[in-house]
């Protein structure tokens, strides 16, 4: 059977071989017999090592990559366009699905932009901001863990994946405890949060932080200074500071050149200026340095989370303005997140005005004064910017996300061309693109 798929076809571009099974040696023998040194390999979009539905078109001379091009768009879902047809609050549920490994950052960037448009940035309650910071930092750890785990897996290191996903599970449990959802949480909303943390959350989170800190050491032992790991990553996928700046690269890739650029320090938002943490850098400008930055950034995130836990005071988690604040605090039931029963009882049984208010705000939403803003946060992959335009209506006029994955993936060619084909995997893994974010 496989013979029919494997048989080469002659086209205007040359002879094409489709590999869909069968004996690899047969193919090698056949290509070898053509005496052709230049081979164009199409890798992906369905390939276990391309870090998602990424298509790489590699031109090879022997084992050396002479040209590397990316084909993207396989996960384009029109999220930006969709938000133009929903209320400002509904937008959160769309943007959280872009970069599915860092939903909290997508939500935070969007909400910070909407709040800037509304002019209520100063009115966001302290507790809401602190919980946002905590969730973002947890999310940074879980995202870095996936990068290290899958990055390792793609290069043949299986064990880090098991360790990474073990810790990630604990973080997803915390998300589930707070929002009812493990991914795509829609927890951060314009004006504050969807709901407060459950009552027993703080001790559970403290316990989790303790366990995660202990367990992260396992992965550290697997990846830091491991000679096999270093052979695959050290000195590979070099991109220096000038290259990073020219290509607009931010995040761990920029920091691996020694540039301590982290928006949490340089342009603080959500009160990051009040936390003690270090910006982790490397000076190797290679894949190994980028992975090391991620390993050590997780520890810094844990530091921030502990400071948040020490500072959390009881209080509201939604802005006081009743024309903006979601009318009910949601509550988490056995079947997920929904309106709290107390609230339903009040609007259905006692207060007609409250019912009207609820109905208007939920169906129509609030109006946002016309104008445009750009709000940026430091996501695990770099600067995630939300550029939002309002025409004064109840729905966004235009939402654009400056996705770090999208931008950073451009550097594939600069990192890979001239290197060996095996290093392409290390390069892409060290950029850590998330295709949901790239394609939106």
């Amino acid at each position: 059977m496989s013979q029919t798929y494997n048989s080469p076809r002659e086209t205007t571009e040359g002879r094409i071989y489709s590999v869909t099974g069968g004996d690899w040696d047969d193919l090698v023998t056949e290509i070898g017999s053509t005496q052709e040194e230049r081979v164009v390999v199409n890798m992906g979009p369905q390939h276990p090592s391309t870090h998602g539905v990424l298509r790489l078109i590699l031109e090879l001379e022997g084992e050396t990559v002479t040209e590397a091009r990316c084909g993207i768009g396989y996960l384009h879902t029109g999220i930006e366009k969709n938000t133009e047809y929903r209320s400002w609050t509904q937008g959160v549920t769309f943007v959280t699905r872009m970069d599915y490994l860092s939903p909290m950052f997508n939500e935070a960037a969007y909400c910070l932009a909407v709040e800037k448009l509304l002019g209520i940035t100063d009115q966001i309650p302290e507790r809401a901001t602190l919980i946002r910071v905590m969730m973002m930092e947890f999310n940074r750890i879980s995202s870095h863990l996936v990068c290290l785990g899958t990055g390792g897996l793609e290069l043949g290191a299986i064990t880090p994946m098991f360790f990474a996903f073990r810790e990630r599970e604990m973080i997803l449990d915390i998300f589930e405890m707070a929002s009812g959802l493990r991914m795509n949480t829609a927890y951060i909303r314009p004006g504050g949060l969807a709901n407060d943390l459950p009552e027993d959350a703080i001790p559970k989170i403290r316990e989790a932080v303790k366990t995660i800190r202990k367990n992260l050491k396992d992965n550290e032992k697997m990846l830091v200074g491991n000679s096999i790991w270093m052979k695959r990553t050290a000195g590979v996928a070099h991109l220096d500071l000038a290259g990073c700046i020219a290509l607009g690269i931010t995040g761990p890739v920029l920091r691996s050149t020694g540039m301590p650029w982290d928006l949490r320090k340089t342009q603080p938002y959500c009160g990051y200026e009040n936390f003690e943490f270090d910006v982790v850098t490397a000076d190797t400008a290679d894949a190994y340095g980028r992975f090391m930055i991620r390993v050590y950034e997780m520890e810094q995130s844990l530091r921030i989370i502990e400071q948040v836990l020490d500072r959390l005071e009881p209080g509201p988690v939604m802005v006081g303005d009743k024309k903006i604040a979601w009318p009910s605090q949601l509550s988490l039931g056995g079947d997920g997140l929904g309106n709290s029963l107390d609230h339903i009882r009040e609007i259905m049984g006692t207060s007609m005005e409250a019912l009207i208010h609820h109905f208007k705000l939920v169906t129509e939403g609030f109006r946002v004064p016309a104008g445009q803003v750009y709000a940026a946060v430091e996501s695990p992959r770099g600067e995630l910017g939300a550029h939002i335009i309002s025409d004064g209506g109840t729905r966004p006029y235009r939402v654009h996300f400056r996705e770090p994955s999208f931008n950073n993936l451009q550097s594939t060619a600069a990192m890979c061309e001239g290197s060996l084909v095996a290093d392409v995997i290390a390069a892409v893994a060290s950029i850590d693109p998330v295709m949901g974010g790239v394609d939106r």
Binding site: Y85, T266, E364, Q372, H387
Partner: protein
């Protein structure tokens, strides 16, 4: 496209659920919708914005010809640049004012603003001085050309392809301006306002909920 969808996109703003006149029975929504034109801002702009604008004026002699207006809104500075002068201004901003990073380009479509329907918005970042500004460039729909800034900021390559794909703005001088998300043979530019969102009508007990872009909306 359904009538409602057309109405939603029409210039004239009818009331809630397409009601003409006031139509407001609740008094809640304040149905009047004013077209807000954000005008030019006068000096002083505040913060480092004066420094940036003065610096640009000093370093770039053609300032008054190139810059349509300067807008400061919600703590952000926007320079509206004539498209013919975009590359000159970009070069000066990068080299003399140290905006070494361009964080891409975002498009916007204003079908009612004749002669300047399409917009390209470039957020700029200076790592050296820790400053942010934005450039706004407009082009008419009949002549959707804006010069590419890839020569100045190489990282804008994919961003310009995205904006071309979504809005049909042709970035002249781009090394390979092709679609990036949509298939190469796709018709139209999905994020223009006259391109419907589409979707699948949902049927429930005999009634049909139309796709999002065909639904009645609050205005």
């Amino acid at each position: 496209m359904s009538d409602i969808a057309k109405q939603n996109m029409s210039a004239e703003s009818t009331g809630m659920f397409g009601v003409a006149g006031s139509g407001d029975t609740s008094g809640y929504g304040g149905l009047q919708r004013r077209k807000v034109q954000i005008g030019s801002t006068e000096r002083p702009f505040g913060g480092y914005f004066d420094e940036v604008v003065d610096g640009l004026e000093r370093a770039y002699p053609g300032f008054s010809d190139a810059i349509e207006k300067v807008v400061v809104d919600r703590g952000e500075l926007t320079l509206h640049v004539h498209r013919e002068k975009l590359n000159e201004v970009a070069q000066v901003l990068r080299d003399d004012l140290k905006f070494e990073m361009c964080l891409g380009v975002s498009g916007a479509h204003y079908p009612d603003e004749s002669g300047r329907e399409l917009r390209a918005l470039y957020p700029l970042l200076s790592l050296t001085r820790n400053q942010r500004i934005r450039i706004e460039v407009s082009a008419p729909e009949s002549d959707p050309h804006i010069p590419s800034v890839v020569e100045v900021w190489a990282g804008n390559n994919w961003h310009e392809r995205e904006t071309y794909d979504m809005f049909g703005i042709v970035f002249d001088g781009h090394p390979a301006l092709t679609r990036i998300f949509m298939p190469d043979d796709w018709n139209g530019h999905p994020q223009r306002k006259d391109y419907p969102l589409g979707g699948i009508p949902v049927e429930y007990k005999g009634a049909t909920v139309p796709p999002p872009s065909d639904r009645r909306v609050y205005r």
